[in-house]
């Protein structure tokens, strides 16, 4: 009896999970489908079978240089991730293994900066960027994205490091490892899965960040988010072209996410379940 109930529950939850997944994925799927339609087809209403034309892709590429936006996205998302890790590994190490009574408060304060509406600081940040000559520069954007994602990176690494028993690091200290020896030979190899998933998640967050990347760039440093935005207003009625541009923008991160989903899921649920 119990087995029958549990089988029914499993079937129910499996079907439910598939439905939820489809609902979440449907907008992306429909964007991809629309990108393979002609403009006439695209405005004719709901239709899941496209004609398969690639004219929108050709038009998009002719109109703007996709590769330049793509490279900007790669540089700022990878650059900001590496910079964030460089700052976060020692910070998280200190907070996980040498906590003070105020460590929790510092962590909460860091996270609280994520709760602030970005629009509230838009003017001061814009002015700072203007005065320091960082507007429309990859360097400026890399710094900005590092700052935005730093709290999450520190939190994730902190959670990972906390899972590493302190006794192992003490054993390394007894065995004669210096502070850097401890981090290089013991902590980092043990935290590789955690560092990898933090890195992946941060790349995705940086890749998708649209608020600042659109507002602080014009042409030189504009990443793929600005590329889509550049199609949305003048080409607002040309849905096939807009869909092609969007597909091109999300494709790299979607592919990366697909191949690294195991690490990502582990990264997002780490600490929640043992």
């Amino acid at each position: 009896m119990a087995r029958a109930v549990s089988t029914r529950r499993t079937v129910f939850f499996t079907v439910l999970a598939w439905i939820v997944a489809l609902v979440i994925f449907f907008p992306i799927l429909y964007t991809i489908i629309t990108s393979f339609k002609s403009e006439t087809e695209a405005i004719q209403g709901f239709n899941l079978i496209p004609s398969g034309t690639v004219e929108s892709y050709a038009a998009v590429q002719a109109q703007s240089n996709y590769f330049k936006f793509f490279m900007n996205s790669v540089i700022i998302s990878v650059g900001s991730t590496l910079l964030a890790l460089l700052i976060s590994v020692p910070a998280a190490w200190a907070m996980a293994f040498s906590p003070t009574p105020r460590t929790k408060d510092v962590l909460m304060w860091m996270l609280s900066t994520k709760m602030m509406p970005a629009a509230a600081v838009m003017v001061p940040i814009y002015l700072l960027f203007r005065d320091f000559g960082l507007l429309d520069s990859r360097f400026g954007l890399t710094i900005m994205l590092t700052m935005i994602n730093l709290p999450i990176v520190v939190w994730m690494l902190y959670t990972y490091f906390r899972e590493i028993p302190g006794e192992i690091l003490e054993a390394a200290r007894m065995d004669g490892a210096s502070l850097w020896g401890e981090i290089a030979y013991v902590l980092t190899p043990m935290a590789v899965p955690g560092i990898a998933s933090t890195m992946l998640l941060n790349i995705i967050l940086a890749w998708n960040e649209a608020f600042w990347t659109i507002r602080l760039t014009t042409t030189n440093a504009a990443p793929l988010t600005a590329f889509i935005a550049s199609f949305s207003s003048p080409q607002g009625l040309f849905w096939a072209k807009l869909s092609a541009a969007s597909t091109l923008a999300i494709a790299p991160i979607l592919i990366m996410g697909w191949f690294s989903q195991k690490q990502l899921v582990r990264g997002l649920t780490f600490g929640a379940v043992k």
Binding site: E167, I168, A171, M174, D175, Y185
Partner: protein, 333 residues
């Protein structure tokens, strides 16, 4: 050499004093066990000796050298942790070799030492495995191997057997004792298990609330406990205590009798009681008896005694082995 001397070592965490101030001398080659209930400060004291915790005040000397402010690795000590603390991403070989590599020893010498340690600890066939592929006992042997290769002046063991099951604990206890006989190196061993303390130690340090209650050989502590705490802590089952008229008859505030020093009779004796629980172990019988005027008393009788719950029995303490204590709980001799 492994002479360790603690001079007025104290430890406080914020406003909480864990160790008020300890003086202790450990001679070269001694097997010293720190024993006491949970939270008595024994592990903290070991960690202070190791250098993993700073002493709030006082000095630690190893072979006459003040190491109070030295880093752990500079003290020439090796430690075996309760959780083994092996490096999970390294093979057994690399785990054992790690301290030698940190000391920048050349590869040939490292290999020789690792092979020798593995031979002594029966780990030769497991050198290429990772800790996750080993049993609890094997992991603990790897941890010991990692300590041995450093040739430390003293070994520090922090409850190394408490994660093992009872049978394995017995075997490992013997192995560590044998290792001490072979190496003749100073060993400091922390445990809350008084059986481990009694069977392994040359010298036991009984700790309570951060204070040393008594230092002595296992049998010294058993036969001549300094106070009520040591009398109650050393010996299993624990000593029976009686106060009031029973004690004043002996000119004491409290008297103590070990369960094995009580004689049982069905006809007559000094104390009369009713058996509440009888535990028949075959070789021994543990009787928990509710004695009139005293309360619960435990008796350990050799052999299998046909006594059951509810039986009325008589107990006679061995007069020569009655321990007497004054109102402050100190032994009267």
């Amino acid at each position: 050499m492994g002479n360790i001397r603690l001079k007025n070592v104290s430890k406080s965490f914020a406003a909480t004093t864990v160790i008020p101030g300890i003086d202790l001398e450990i001679k070269d080659g001694e097997f010293v066990v720190f024993v006491g209930p949970s939270g008595c400060g024994k592990s903290t004291l070991l960690r202070i000796i190791a250098g993993l915790e700073d002493a709030t005040s006082g000095h630690i000397e190893i072979d006459g050298r003040d190491v109070t402010n030295e880093a752990p690795a500079k003290r020439g000590l090796a430690m075996v942790f309760q959780s083994y603390a092996l490096y999970p991403h390294m093979t057994v070989r690399n785990n054992i070799a790690f301290p030698l590599k940190m000391a920048k020893m050349d590869e040939g010498a490292v290999e020789k030492k690792v092979t020798e340690a593995a031979r002594v600890l029966n780990l030769t066939n497991y050198l290429d495995r990772r800790p996750g592929q080993l049993s609890g006992g094997q992991r603990q042997r790897v941890a010991i191997g990692r300590a041995i290769v450093r040739e430390p002046s003293a070994f520090l063991f922090d409850e190394p057997l408490s994660n093992l099951d009872a049978a394995l604990r017995g075997t490992m206890r013997l192995e560590i004792s044998e290792l001490h006989n072979q190496l003749k190196t100073t060993m400091i061993y922390v445990t809350h298990d008084q059986v481990e303390a009694m069977t392994m130690a040359d010298k036991i340090v009984v700790l309570n609330a951060g204070n040393i209650e008594q230092v002595g050989s296992p049998l010294d502590l058993y036969h001549k406990p300094n106070n009520l705490f040591v009398a109650g802590f050393i010996g299993s089952p624990r000593m029976n205590f009686a106060t009031g008229a029973f004690a004043s008859g002996y000119g004491a505030h409290t008297i103590g009798v070990r369960p094995e020093h009580l004689k049982l009779s069905r006809e007559s004796g000094t104390w009369t009681g009713r058996v509440s629980v009888a535990e028949h172990l075959g070789a021994d019988t543990f009787l928990h008896i509710l004695v009139d005027g005293i309360g619960q008393v435990t008796a350990r009788i050799a052999g299998d005694v046909p006594v059951q719950h509810g039986d009325t029995v008589y107990l006679t303490p061995d007069e020569a082995r009655i321990h007497k204590f004054n109102e402050k709980g100190m032994a009267i001799r």
